[in-house]
Amino acid sequence: MQDFEVKAYPEMWHELNMDVERFDKARQMLGGAYTKIFLSQANRPQKMAYFDEMISEIFGGRVKELMQAKKEGRPVVGTFCVYIPEEIVVAANGICVGLCGGSPGSIPDAEKILPRNICPMVKSAFGFKAGRICPYFQVVDFVYGETTCDAKKKTWEILDRLVPTYVMEIPQMKKERDRTLWLEEVKDFKAKIEAVSGKTISSEQLAEAIKILNGKRQALQRLTKLRAANPAPISGKDALLIEQIAFYDEPVRFAAKVNELCDELDARAAKGEGILPKSALRVMVSGTPMALPNWKIHNLVESAGAVIVNEESCIGTRYFKDLITEGSLDMEKQLAALTDRYMRIDCSCFTPNDERVTQVLKEYKDSAAQGIIHYSLQFCHTYNIEEIKIREACQREGIPYLSIESDYSPDDVGQLQTRIEAFLEQVEG
């Protein structure tokens, strides 16, 4: 356990024009936090070893793979959202990679330029590029931006000065004309990827990409189902970590590794073994994404002796609950099927978005949770306001409920700990 470190690759970082000295400190801090939060857990599944390795190589091995891919002329696209048609990128033999945006360390860099009172994720991400302290930002061909919120939408214009940023318009409603708009956007994006790679995407390639990403999503669905067992076979922290790694790992390898882990969890569940005793309180988290290394809420809840059994979040079920219908080799039909899948995403940027309330209640039942913690990043207006409807639904259903609004800074940890422990006392009855 003491041997764990996030490995350093200073030469490669120089090659990527990073602020190496500063970045190296962040690397050490990440290693320390990871050891304390993850490696200290008892009864951890053995197959977590692969994901530990992914964190150990987060600034090395995976970045090397991306650099190699670029040398081979494969497009590498940086993303921040589940609303990116990844299948198109993979069909062009390209790579989608989630960018850094979950740490308070880069926020001062962003606040030199951006307003202070906007979402911490947007600020953190922008700061990672501005400070040259995220290797992924340095390696991408371009950043994929979307219009899911105002802070992002307007930040892309500024970010574009530092790294090429391509923006897709995400519809805000779900009428037929919104679907048409999104289909047009998907087609434009396909043309963009074809321009970057210099090759036309065939329907066979798209079919294969759809299959690959469905496979990855199915593996994550399987993991989610296994967490419904009591006792839970895996901690919420580890499951969240896997959901975070899903955004930057190679999809086929990742799916295989998640399935291997699930085989182990299956065996655990069959024997009635778990990460914590059966009596541990089961909590579901719902709301805004927790980008790596944002483990704040999970760490607080699980340190208080409860277990998190589900994340209804973009880094969570929203990313993998829907699949694309496979089987067609007709490009128009494939793109229509892809569009349909993405239009099912229940992001709070949509109005109305009542399907999310239904989904939260469904996941609460499916995961056999005993209470819901709604987590919203500060200044995330759409999720923060939609919280009212989630709260009302929980009151209606008699579900113990706690709403937390927080940013990345550690200064509210004392209050949050009290609130979370009081919530657990309430769940316990």
């Binding site: 609004e405 509210d412 209050q415 009290t418 609130r419 009081a422 006392e425 309430q426 009855g429």
Partner: protein
């Protein structure tokens, strides 16, 4: 003998029970090493169980306490001890303010806490009293002596202090400024209470419940009857001791 100890941000409170009888309450300042202060408080006592609550609860648990409960649960139990019918509880301490709703059986069904900053808490009143050159004990009665409302818009301690300076330099009487500062706190507390389930009464605990101006303004602005226990600052410690008895 069961003991509840509340390691708060400003003060340590202890309640000693023998069976159903509340034997005594003690209070000292938290100081720099609250758990050692707490151990001092316990000296010479031979309790069956010690339950800790408040910010220092986990540190106390590591050192001497047999268990912990949160302030939310502790104040709920404590409020019910003084007022068995309590449904809505407002607790304002040194660093936190919270509103708790109970069901008929006394279980917590909902609660709210202030965010990370200490706006609208005892600490705010303490600093504001000092900025006007008064003690905390003088501050509430002074506010009550005014019926004139000077505007204070800021709840941030730093900004409110600049507003106080500006008012002083406009010749506004100290009593009016004191009243304005109390009103600023009350309006924030009223906002928190209004977000919760409606109730005709309110039990007010924590050290700030000793402040007569806060109590009177709260009653006036909320339009509900406000009940203050005889030992409001000890409600948390009493609750913790009562919890110890159930173990």
């Amino acid at each position: 003998m069961d003991i509840g100890i509340d390691l708060g941000s400003r003060a340590l409170k202890m309640a000693v029970f023998d069976g159903d009888e509340l034997l005594e309450c003690r209070m000292v300042e938290s100081g720099f090493t609250p758990h050692q202060q707490a151990e001092e408080l316990l000296k010479g006592l031979k309790p069956h169980r010690v339950i800790a609550t408040g910010y220092g609860r986990h540190l106390a648990h590591k050192n001497f306490a047999s268990g912990v409960i949160t302030e939310i649960k502790a104040h709920s139990l404590g409020a019910r001890y003084f007022f068995p019918q309590a449904m809505t509880i407002l607790d304002v301490g040194g660093q936190d303010s919270k509103v708790i709703t109970l069901n008929r059986e006394g279980k917590v069904v909902n609660f709210q806490m202030n965010d990370k900053c200490a706006a609208g808490t005892g600490r705010f009143l303490e600093i504001m009293a000092a900025s006007l050159g008064y003690t905390l004990a003088e501050f509430g009665p002074m506010a009550l002596s005014s019926d004139h409302e000077a505007p204070i818009n800021s709840m941030c301690t730093v900004f409110a202090e600049s507003e106080v300076i500006s008012l002083k330099n406009h010749g506004v009487p100290a009593a009016d400024i004191a009243r304005a500062l109390h009103l600023a706190v009350v309006s924030r507390l009223v906002g928190m209470v209004r977000r919760m389930e409606e109730s005709a009464t309110l039990v007010f605990t924590g050290g700030v419940a000793r402040n007569p101006a806060i109590v009177s303004l709260l009653q006036e602005r909320l339009g509900v009857e406000v009940f203050v226990p005889s030992l409001p600052e000890h409600a948390g410690a009493v609750g913790a001791a009562l919890h110890a008895r159930t173990l």
